[in-house]
Symmetry: C2
Subunit: 204 residues, 2 copies
């Protein structure tokens, strides 16, 4: 094997191991909580010595921060695209709620850790995650404000309405089960129906 | 001092110390998380030896469970009274949301621990807290179902609507600040307006 080919194989193996560490860490953090989980437990779960684990991560907090990045990044991008689209505010809200619930239910463990372990992050990491959460609220607020400006929605405290929507979506991590009665898309339809109906200007 | 009077004084002092332990435990659990908090830290915060602290509680989990009881008991009772009252479903929902936000904002630290540390409880304690959360959802669902039956609300998945309301209320623990722009009653008015408007049957 050439030097380059062997380096590529090594890189690929590293990525596989990183994914495995990531998945196991999410599982254990969710089950026991971040603080109650030791680096040794994560190492044991992936069959590494504690020392070797640090080849893949700089600290336990580094791992937690990566979980946060995966949990929220994709949703932010989707909400930005939805806001910029040429569509009614009602449809945008429906699409935003659906995107939120799909992401959350598809990656339930990651989102649960993301939503319950924020305070475990320190300094710069904490500020970044906080800013990301505020960005979600801000994008929803902009969609609602657009609807109000166009006369599609009635006058309303758009910031509070955005927080209400964010809350109903995020809270799913506490009660949603993949074996439950409804699919994420069906729950999204009920939520969006409730909210859009609640925001729409009435003609009567 | 008679034996009885001295016993009463001792009881009163015990209650004061218990309250102090409770308040400090809530503060530290909220700040660091339950698992990251040691019994020694709680003892230090109230000026007791670790051994003496066990005079007031049987275990750290016992303390956490008491926090849960204080966090949710009062709200359940209020929701039961509201459901049984002679009032429109719209008013009942408004009163239910207001009661929820008042309780949560008045006891923000207790509710934050209540809402974020559930999984730290084991066995019977966990089942009891889970049942209490389900009871909240159930009471809201009954208010909504009442409104649908009376033709005041349109047909709607009452269980999902209840979860939506519970989520928007509970999520406040993540963003509410006593120094913020709105009082809990004002936030409750916006939430109730959004939800009631969303549920109401339209005449048009």
């Amino acid at each position: 094997m050439s030097k380059r080919a062997s380096r590529e194989t090594e890189n690929a193996q590293n990525h596989l191991k990183e994914d495995e560490i990531f998945t196991e860490a999410v599982r254990i953090f969710k089950q026991k909580g971040y603080h109650a989980t030791s680096v040794r437990e994560i190492a044991d779960a992936v069959g590494l010595q504690k020392g070797s684990l640090y080849h893949y991560l700089s600290s336990k907090e580094d791992l937690l921060f990566r979980i946060f990045e995966r949990g929220s990044g994709a949703l932010t991008q989707q909400l930005e695209e939805i806001l910029a689209a040429d569509d009614s505010a009602a449809n945008k809200l429906h699409r935003g709620i659906e995107a939120h619930l799909n992401e959350l239910c598809d990656q339930l463990d990651i989102f649960t850790v993301y939503l319950t372990e924020r305070r475990a992050l320190s300094g710069k990491h904490h500020a970044k995650v906080r800013a990301e959460g505020e960005r979600h609220a801000e994008l929803l607020e902009k969609i609602i404000a657009q609807g109000i400006r166009r006369g599609e929605f009635r006058r309303m405290d758009a910031k509070m309405a955005a927080h209400a929507i964010l809350g109903m979506c995020n809270w799913l991590h506490q009660w949603y089960s993949p074996n439950g009665r409804l699919e994420p898309q069906e729950i999204a339809r009920v939520f969006a129906d409730l909210v859009v109906h609640g925001l729409q200007a009435r003609t009567e």
